[in-house]
């Protein structure tokens, strides 16, 4: 057993994979902003990534907002600060929970879907066929998905913010005896544009990560159904880790 060489080999493998992904993501970013553009594909992906994700985002947000209000109330009563429930709910939802939970939910729904779809096209030679038909799969398949995710995730997060705050409002007014108009007024007065902006910036970055890592895993899959399954799993795991890591980095940068 040679632990140092094993650790070294594993480190190089991780770095190599990261380098390949960075290269792929760079090519995808260039394909998003240079012609030819496939508008029809982009609009189709807007529907798929954005519109069809609304139910899962809405449900997640309403329950998180409700649970957050309950927890803040319980914690706040320990030092007579229960009146801060609306303030902390809106801050927590817009700055952190809205974008992160929307990102994580879409890492499961969208990233895995993209990896499975493009992976299946890879193992059935559809990507090769596309290339021989003078169409670059990077522009036809990857760019519309990445662009759609970058555009729709901030919109989804905005929806999640509103529904999350509403979840907190429903619990606070329904079972914690808060006055509705006062709850909403406190929410509005405490909320700053910077809080929402931070969440939207995070959402755009998460959108890029979700689509790019799904496409990367699918694009490089091999080995039939097993390989496609592995690509989908790796996409979800990779997107989750990168979302959480970039969430910390963006927050730290913004706070600094």
């Amino acid at each position: 057993m040679r632990p140092f060489s094993d650790i070294g080999r594993a480190t190089f493998a991780v770095l190599r994979e990261f380098g390949r992904f960075t290269n792929f993501a760079g090519r995808a970013a260039v394909a998003c902003v240079t012609p030819p553009f496939h508008l029809g594909q982009f609009l189709r992906q807007l529907m798929h990534v954005g519109y069809f994700s609304l139910p899962v985002i809405g449900l997640t947000a309403v329950f998180i907002g409700a649970a957050l209000a309950l927890n803040i109330y319980v914690g706040g009563t320990r030092f007579n600060a229960e009146s801060f429930v609306p303030n902390i709910v809106v801050l927590g939802i817009t700055r952190e929970l809205g974008p992160v939970l929307a990102g994580l939910m879409l890492a499961g729904r969208v990233s895995a879907g993209i990896a499975a779809e493009i992976g299946t096209m890879r193992v059935t030679e559809q990507l090769d066929a596309m290339t021989t038909l003078s169409t670059d799969p990077m522009r036809f398949l990857v760019a519309p998905r990445v662009l759609a995710a970058v555009v729709t995730l901030p919109v989804l997060v905005l929806v999640a913010d509103i529904i999350g705050v509403m979840g907190g409002y429903l619990v606070a007014t329904g079972s914690l005896d808060f006055n509705g108009p006062i709850y909403l007024r406190n929410t509005r007065l405490f909320l700053e544009a910077a809080d929402v902006n931070l969440g939207l910036i995070k959402a755009a970055v998460f959108g890029f990560i979700i689509a790019a890592i799904g496409a990367y895993q699918g694009y490089n899959s091999s080995g039939g159904a097993l390989g496609v399954g592995r690509a989908a799993t790796n996409a979800v795991v990779g997107a989750t880790v990168l979302i959480l890591a970039s969430n910390y980095l963006i927050t730290a940068f913004y706070v600094a």
Binding site: H38, T120, M121, T124, E125, Q126, D128, A129, M130, T131, T132, L133, S134, T135, F140
Partner: protein, 261 residues
């Protein structure tokens, strides 16, 4: 950088070498396919046929050597990336499994190059797709179906229609009859011969189906251990004088080629 030459063969493979997973898959493959000729590349499983095709089509980069189209390097050392798209438009390719796009209808699959690479209006592209469907004897009623709703033989016809719709100069066929019953396979072979003759293009096919090879080939070459070991007119395949070719042609397990099991 090379330039197109009118006297050059339509397709030429020059010393193609490719090593994969510590195995020399191609070890200097040389082939020439003149305009209007059909060459079939024979070889057992794992002999490097598909890798030859992928290196020729630019889907895989050869370690050494090059594929030339009209005397111009397309794939390999010396290829000009700016010319790739233009040269690629001369190709039509029929993939082994059809490789039709699941998310598109049959007519959209057939007209894919016209719509997305050539910018032809969808209405015109549909008309041309349906005309090509008739050419390959695929009923126009199937135009709005998805590939999964067609039988294997019909999918092959649709894939053939996609390969020929833009009137290519060179047609490539990867195991065109694999997975088809003998009658459908023969019908596909007839279509390949008919379409190749009609378009007057060069054709490079890879197969291990001898019946298909005899039907569609003007010339046959045999690939073994990454090298072309025999090449000649299709009618001479039974008198090659090479025991490895004889063993393959007659499908015998006993002989100089060891079966991979």
């Amino acid at each position: 950088m090379s330039t197109p030459q009118s006297s050059a063969p339509k397709l030429e493979l020059r010393g193609l070498k490719k090593r994969l997973r510590n195995r020399q898959v191609l070890d200097g493959v040389d082939l020439i396919v003149p305009k209007g000729h059909s060459l079939v590349l024979l070889g057992g499983s794992g002999s490097g046929k598909s890798v030859t095709l992928k290196c020729t089509l630019g889907l895989m980069k050869p370690d050494e050597g090059a594929a030339l189209v009209d005397g111009e390097v397309f794939s390999g050392a010396g290829a000009d990336p700016k010319r790739k798209d233009e040269i690629q438009r001369k190709f039509g390719m029929l993939f082994q499994g059809g490789a039709l796009f699941d998310s598109l209808t049959i007519w959209e699959n057939i007209a894919f190059r016209l719509i997305y690479a050539d910018g032809v209006a969808r209405k015109d592209a549909r008309e041309r797709a349906i005309a090509t469907m008739k050419q390959v004897r695929l009923a126009p009623e199937n135009a709005d179906l998805r590939p999964t709703e067609l039988s294997g033989g019909m999918q092959k016809r649709a894939a053939l229609a996609r390969a020929i719709i833009a009137k290519p100069d060179i047609l490539f066929f990867d195991e065109p009859t694999t997975g088809l019953d003998p009658i459908t396979a023969d019908a596909i072979n007839d279509l390949i011969v008919e379409m190749s003759k009609e378009l007057g293009c060069a054709a490079l096919s890879i197969t291990h189906d001898m019946a298909s090879a005899r039907k569609i080939a003007d010339e046959i070459a045999m690939l073994y251990q990454g090298k072309i070991i025999w090449r000649g007119p299709a009618k001479d395949i039974d008198n090659s004088g090479d025991p490895r070719v004889d063993q393959f042609v007659h499908g015998r397990a006993e002989g100089p080629i060891q079966a991979v099991v």
